[in-house]
C-alpha cells in the first residue's frame, strides 16, 4: 500500500499507509487567504469526505490548515444575495465531516474563526497550537452561524459560554479553549505535528470496528435518552462479539502481548 493523494485546487487530500491502516489527511490549502471557505473549497471538502467515507481501509482522518491559520471562515458577501437557502446549501460542509464513521481529529494549527470554527466543531477531537484562537463573528455581521455552530458549540462548552462567544464575537485563546472544553489538547506550535501524530497513532492502535462503534454510540447516544442510549450501547457491544478482533483483543490481554487487529 502506497501513499496517494487526490488532487484538488483548494484543499489537499492525502492517504498515508501506517502499520495500523490508512490515515487520511484533509488539509485546507489556501494559506494566501487564510483558508477562507468559499464555494469551490466547500465543494472540494464535501467531495473529499465522500472519498474518505468510501475507503473501508481508512482508520482515522486528520483535518488541518496550511499556513498560519486553520480557517478564518468565509467572505461575508458570499451568502447575502439571491437565493439564500440555496447558497447556504452550497457552502455547508460540517455535516459531511461529522457523518464520517471513523474518528476525526482536527489539528488546529492557527485561528479557527466563524465557519472555520464550525468545521472544527464537526470533528471528534481537537488538538490546538497554543497560538490558535477561536471566535464566532456571525451575529456581529447581522447573521446567525448556520453550519452547526449554534448546536455543536453549546453541546461542547455549555450554553452560557457558547452565548458568551456568539454575542461578543471575542476571540478565545487556546488556553481558555482548553479550560472550556472547546479543544482537548493544547501544545506549542512547533510540537503540534508530533503531538497530533502521536494522538492519531494511539487511536489507530485500537481495534478498528470497536473504534467506529465507540464513536457511534457516544455521538448518537447523546441525542437519545439514557435508556435508549444504553440499548444502543448494548446492541453494538453484542454485535462486536462477532468480530475476530474482539477475540484477538482478549487473547492478547491474556497472553500479555500487543494485539494484531485486522479490522474484521
Amino acid at each position: 500500500m502506497k501513499d496517494f493523494a487526490i488532487l484538488y485546487r483548494h484543499i489537499a487530500l492525502e492517504f498515508k499507509p501506517t502499520e495500523n491502516g490508512r490515515r487520511a489527511t484533509l488539509r485546507l490549502a489556501r494559506p494566501d487567504n487564510k483558508n477562507l471557505i468559499d464555494h469551490d473549497m466547500a465543494e472540494e471538502i464535501r467531495d473529499a469526505c465522500r472519498v474518505i467515507g468510501q475507503d473501508n481501509a481508512c482508520r482515522l482522518v486528520t483535518v488541518t490548515g496550511s499556513g498560519s491559520s486553520f480557517s478564518v471562515g468565509r467572505a461575508t458577501p458570499d451568502v447575502a444575495e439571491g437565493d439564500v437557502s440555496g447558497r447556504i446549501a452550497l457552502l455547508r460542509i460540517a455535516d459531511c465531516l461529522s457523518a464520517l464513521p471513523v474518528p476525526v481529529v482536527v489539528v488546529l494549527n492557527g485561528d479557527a474563526i466563524g465557519h472555520g470554527l464550525e468545521l472544527a466543531l464537526a470533528g471528534d477531537l481537537r488538538i490546538a497550537s497554543e497560538s490558535a484562537g477561536f471566535a464566532l463573528w456571525e451575529p456581529g455581521q447581522a447573521t446567525v452561524p448556520w453550519d452547526g455552530g449554534t448546536q455543536r458549540l453549546p453541546r461542547l462548552v455549555g450554553p452560557a459560554w457558547a452565548l458568551d462567544m456568539a454575542l461578543t464575537g471575542r476571540k478565545v485563546g487556546a488556553r481558555e479553549a482548553l479550560a472550556l472544553g472547546l479543544v482537548n489538547r493544547v501544545v506549542a506550535g512547533d510540537e503540534l505535528e508530533t503531538a497530533s501524530m502521536e494522538l492519531a497513532e494511539q487511536i489507530m492502535a485500537t481495534a478498528p470496528v470497536a473504534a467506529r462503534f465507540a464513536k457511534e454510540t457516544v455521538n448518537k447516544g447523546m441525542d437519545l435518552t439514557l435508556d435508549q442510549g444504553l440499548r444502543l450501547e448494548a446492541d453494538l457491544s453484542v454485535i462486536l462479539h462477532s468480530t475476530s478482533d474482539r477475540a484477538e483483543g482478549i487473547a492478547s490481554f491474556k497472553e500479555r502481548r500487543s494485539p494484531r487487529y485486522t479490522g474484521a
Binding site: 474518528p103 471528534d124 477531537l125 481537537r126 453541546r155 461542547l156 472544553g181 482537548n184 494522538l199 494511539q202 487511536i203 492502535a205 485500537t206 481495534a207 470496528v209 470497536a210 473504534a211 462503534f213 465507540a214 464513536k215 454510540t217 457516544v218 455521538n219 447516544g221 447523546m222 435518552t225 439514557l226 435508556d227 442510549g229 444504553l230 450501547e233 448494548a234 446492541d235 453494538l236 457491544s237 453484542v238 454485535i239 462486536l240 462479539h241 462477532s242 468480530t243 478482533d245 474482539r246 477475540a247 484477538e248 483483543g249 482478549i250 487473547a251 492478547s252 490481554f253 491474556k254 494485539p259 487487529y261
Partner: protein, 239 residues
C-alpha cells in the same frame, strides 16, 4: 446480613456500604460479582431505612475492570444480549432512589469506571488511576460507560478517553468533572462517610426526589423537566 463471595455488604445506620472484595484480582468484575451486586442492590432498593449508598473497593484498587479470564466463554450473541437485560444490575444501580457515592482509590478502569459513573458522586484519592481501555481490546463499554461518560464530561472528552484508552489521573478526572473531589488516601473513607451522613441528615424523601429531578430531567426537554420538578416539589411538600 448475608455474606457474599465477592463483596462486603454492610449497613451502618442509614448508610449502606458495598465494598468490592476480590482484592487478589484488583476487584475485577466477574459473573459472581454481578450476581452478588445485583442481590445487594435489590436489598438496598427495598430497604426503607437506607438513605445513602457508598461503593468502594477492598485492597489496592477500586476495580481494575472486567475479569477477562471469563471472556470468550460467552454464549451466542442472542444469548449475550438476553443475559444483559435479564439481570440488569446497571439499571438497578442507576435507578436507586437514594444518592450513591463511589469512593475510588487505586485502579478504576473499564467496568470499575462504569460502576463509578453510575453512582451520583465520585470521590477519588489523589493517586487514583483511571482508564476506559475497551476499544484497545476490541470492545466498547457495556455497562453504560459510553452513555454515562459523555453525559458527565461531554462527547469530545469522552471520545478522547475511549478512542485512546489512555490512563489518566485524579486531577484530570476532577478537571473534566468526572469526580467532584480528590482527597488523600487516608482520608477517602472518612470523606465518603461524612458525605453519606450529610445526605442522611437531609429530610427524606427530599434527598431522593432532588436526585430523581436531576437524573430524570437530563432526559427531558426543559419544559418537561420543569413540569417534573413541579410535580416532585408537590410530592415533597405532601410528605
Amino acid at each position: 446480613m448475608p455474606g457474599f463471595p465477592t463483596l462486603i455488604f454492610e449497613k451502618a445506620g442509614e448508610v449502606a456500604h458495598i465494598s468490592l472484595d476480590r482484592p487478589g484480582a484488583l476487584n475485577s468484575y466477574n459473573m459472581q460479582m454481578r450476581d452478588d451486586f445485583s442481590e445487594a442492590l435489590s436489598a438496598i432498593q427495598y430497604d426503607d431505612e437506607v438513605r445513602a449508598l457508598i461503593i468502594s473497593g477492598q485492597g489496592r484498587a477500586f476495580c481494575a475492570g472486567a475479569d477477562l479470564t471469563e471472556f470468550g466463554t460467552a454464549p451466542s450473541q442472542v444469548e449475550a444480549r438476553q443475559v444483559r437485560w435479564q439481570r440488569d444490575v446497571w439499571g438497578q444501580l442507576n435507578g436507586l432512589r437514594i444518592p450513591s457515592i463511589a469512593a475510588i482509590h487505586g485502579y478504576c478502569m473499564g467496568s470499575g469506571m462504569e460502576i463509578a459513573l453510575l453512582c451520583d458522586l465520585r470521590i477519588a484519592t489523589h493517586d487514583a488511576v483511571f482508564a476506559m481501555p475497551e476499544v484497545k481490546l476490541g470492545m466498547i463499554p457495556a455497562a453504560g460507560g459510553s452513555q454515562t461518560l459523555p453525559r458527565n464530561c461531554g462527547a469530545s472528552a469522552a471520545l478522547d478517553l475511549l478512542l485512546t484508552g489512555r490512563r489518566f489521573g485524579a486531577e484530570e478526572a476532577l478537571a473534566m468533572g468526572l469526580v467532584t473531589r480528590t482527597v488523600a488516601e487516608d482520608e477517602l473513607e472518612s470523606a465518603a462517610w461524612s458525605l453519606a451522613e450529610d445526605f442522611c441528615a437531609l429530610p427524606w424523601p427530599a434527598s431522593g426526589l432532588v436526585k430523581q429531578a436531576i437524573r430524570d430531567g437530563m432526559d427531558l426537554s426543559l419544559e418537561d423537566g420543569l413540569a417534573l420538578e413541579q410535580r416532585l416539589a408537590q410530592v415533597a411538600y405532601g410528605a
